[in-house]
Amino acid sequence: MKKLDNYGYMFIIPFFIVFVTFTIYPILLTFYYSFTSYSGMGDPEFTGLANYTRLLTDSYFYSALYNTLYIWGINFFFQLGIALLLAILFSDIRLKMRGLNIFRALFYLPNLITIASVALLFSILLGWHHGTINHLLLDLGIISSPIDWLNDPTTARWSVGLIGAWMWFGHTFIILMAGISGISKDYFEAALIDGANRWQTLVKVTLPLLKPIMLYVLITSLIGGLQIFDLPMLITDGTGAPQGSLNTIVLYLYNQAFRYDNYGYAAAIAYGLFVITVIFSIITFKSMYRNNVKEG
């Protein structure tokens, strides 16, 4: 007869205590709050679906979703573009680039700076009448009057998107490099022998085999990107200005909860964001998967 004992469970108890206390409990509590009107003081008052009906008709929520996707789109395009270009250069067996370790560290460096410093740095660089970038552009004669980068909806969104790309391309680069080194050298050598040029090697060998990694990068970046909060928060001092163009979903949620004390509504926004994240993840996954099947 097999001897069963419960020691195993004991070893995993600590994890579950932490998991239930700090993850499951807040998630369920937030779900409960999303059906109440709760100001953070006193007791929550049950209001049924009121928060969700408000959410569905809230133009600020939709504009926050638009802002978030706008910023994430710019961020992702440049982050992946730069990282892919660099990864291809560094992995090219004909180029034999040196100093990969040094460059990898350099590319990753922006990610190590605390976000508060990054925000301060860029608000100085991008300042209007006192900003370094405007100084430079004026001196070079590229512009004739200073541009208020962070006070115009378009340039503000682009600025935040590009700062994000600058911070994260090193991270993506490392992941893509790992993906490329995971591809067997045989394929590249075979392609070389078959007379494939660089472009053909890239399009026919590297990119298709890199697809699972890029899917991973896409989904993690999307989930992270939908939660973008810190940069807009710090750059706009939480206001989401100019004209609400940096008001992202999580910033909106934060303001509803911690500025205006509408904890119930903020909880509903959190669940709204959750649903949106799930939908986007499914769409991305499905479309990527379908392409794979077609090619296969």
């Binding site: 020691y7 600590p14 003081m41 009448h129 006192h130 911690f258 205006y260 509408n262």
Partner: protein, 443 residues
């Protein structure tokens, strides 16, 4: 053996987790008999705490939490009583909310009898610490009226005098303020760092609360004049584009700052690069100590303070006892020392220059006071007079947030991205979005 080992390991890990949950230190007292715990959002209590420790032979544990997180961190602790401090401070931005809760001990009761102190404080300061039923929940040692700090050397050069009385006379109306602004501009200076500086003065002689007792948003003509004044400042080029708290703002206090004016203006001036110097800043009492003095080297001693078109106040720290504390006696001793101990407050005021709200002490020191940073001016007397003119009835729990929303709307109008009507409408929408219960005016 195996069993013993695994059990002890598990309990060790489990204990670690529980200890982690409890990590915020002792709860409301209990464990440590002689330790008073205090929570605040500034470090200004550090020195008084040293004095208190020495006097009472007790330990004091001060936890400082940045103002942005302060209400969010404090609220759950007060709500549950777990790890709550014995004494905690409140800032103007949320004091209206907090005095209505049961978090602070009612100081009107025995043995505190704080009602008896009423006449000893500047009226508005004492009133702010009361709840809607008139019970005193918190006290404050300071008063924080505002003024306009200006550079003496520039005043002398452009306006022909650096006397605070005479400058104050010229600043006593909005028109006067703009007139001075024009004169300064002609001489190459800027009146204010940015348009936000006039927000304190656009309420004029008719200050009203943002939200009245019927929960309606009150938007007076005077309030709306902020749009026009800010626009006028921008259009007439009377500011230096250095927004409050920006690096440029701080830099402008200590001399000239760079100013990318654009080609149109550069051609006019025929200089490569333009620099500009700011004349004055609208700041309250604490602005002198924690903004000007800490950021200025070159211009120290070249400052003076005077009145603007109307009195205003900005910020302030109140202090009360946690109602669930089990060291209320010791806590009250600390509050007493901080808010109405003549000996301590006198030393404190003379050392730091903090403008007190406790009249028995201010009466003693106000006539002798002078500050070298302000060229020997007696700012104490000036601020005390300003403080007497302040009415606490216009403060509501919504002020900080609604002020921010309003300021943003004004900014959008000044930038020219919205018309005045659009900006006002957007302001109403934002208020309705933030506080669905508030009725906004019909559009």
């Amino acid at each position: 053996m195996k069993k013993v080992l695994s059990l002890s390991l598990v309990s060790l890990l489990g204990f670690g987790v529980l200890a982690g949950c409890n990590g915020e230190g002792s709860d409301g007292g209990g464990s440590d008999k002689d330790t008073l715990t205090i929570w605040s959002f500034t470090d200004e209590l550090e020195e008084p705490i040293e004095v208190f420790k020495e006097r009472h032979g007790v330990e004091v544990e001060l936890t400082i939490i940045p103002i942005e997180d302060y209400p969010t961190r404090l609220r759950p602790v007060l709500q549950s009583g777990q790890g709550a401090p014995d004494v905690f401070t409140g800032e103007l931005a949320f004091i209206k909310d907090w005095v209505e809760q049961d978090y602070w001990e009612d100081l009107s009761q025995e043995p505190y009898n704080a009602d008896e102190l009423e006449g000893d404080y500047i009226d508005y300061v004492f009133d702010m610490g009361k709840d809607s039923e008139g019970s005193v929940k918190a006290l404050s040692w300071q008063t924080t009226p505002g003024g306009i700090f200006y550079r003496r050397s520039i005043a002398e050069k452009v306006l022909g005098t650096d006397d605070p009385e005479e400058i104050g006379e010229r600043f006593s109306t909005m028109d006067g303020l703009f007139e001075v602004g024009e004169e300064l501009k002609d001489a190459g200076y800027r009146l204010f760092p940015d348009e936000g500086a006039v927000r304190w003065f656009s309420q004029g002689q008719n200050p009203q609360p943002w939200v009245n007792e019927n929960n309606e948003l009150v938007v007076t003509e005077e309030r709306l004049s902020h749009f026009d004044y800010a626009k006028e400042l921008r259009d007439k080029d009377l500011t230096a584009f250095a927004p409050e708290w920006s690096p440029a703002w701080f830099a402008s206090m200590d001399g000239k700052i760079n100013y990318n004016a654009g080609w149109d203006e550069l051609e006019e001036d025929a200089e490569g690069e333009k620099e500009v110097e700011v004349f004055s800043y609208a700041l309250p009492t604490w602005g002198l100590h924690s903004v000007l003095k800490t950021n200025v080297e070159e211009t120290a001693g070249d400052w003076a303070v005077t009145n603007g078109p109307n009195p205003y106040f900005w910020g302030g720290t109140w202090l009360g006892i946690y109602s669930g504390s089990d060291k209320k006696e010791l806590a009250w001793d600390f509050v007493k020392m901080m808010t109405h101990d003549e000996e301590f407050l006198k030393d404190w005021a003379l050392e730091t220059g903090d403008v007190l709200s406790y009249l028995p002490v201010t009466e003693q020191i106000k006539d002798e006071f002078q500050d070298e940073f302000l060229g020997g001016q007696n700012n104490y007397k000036f601020f005390l007079e300003e403080a007497q003119k302040i009415d606490a009835n216009t403060v509501t729990r919504y002020d900080q947030q609604i002020d921010t929303l309003f300021g943003n709307s004004v900014g959008e109008y000044v930038e020219g991205v919205r018309t005045k009507e659009e900006a006002i409408e957007e302001f109403y929408n934002l208020v309705r979005n933030a506080y669905p219960d508030i009725k906004v005016p019909k559009q």
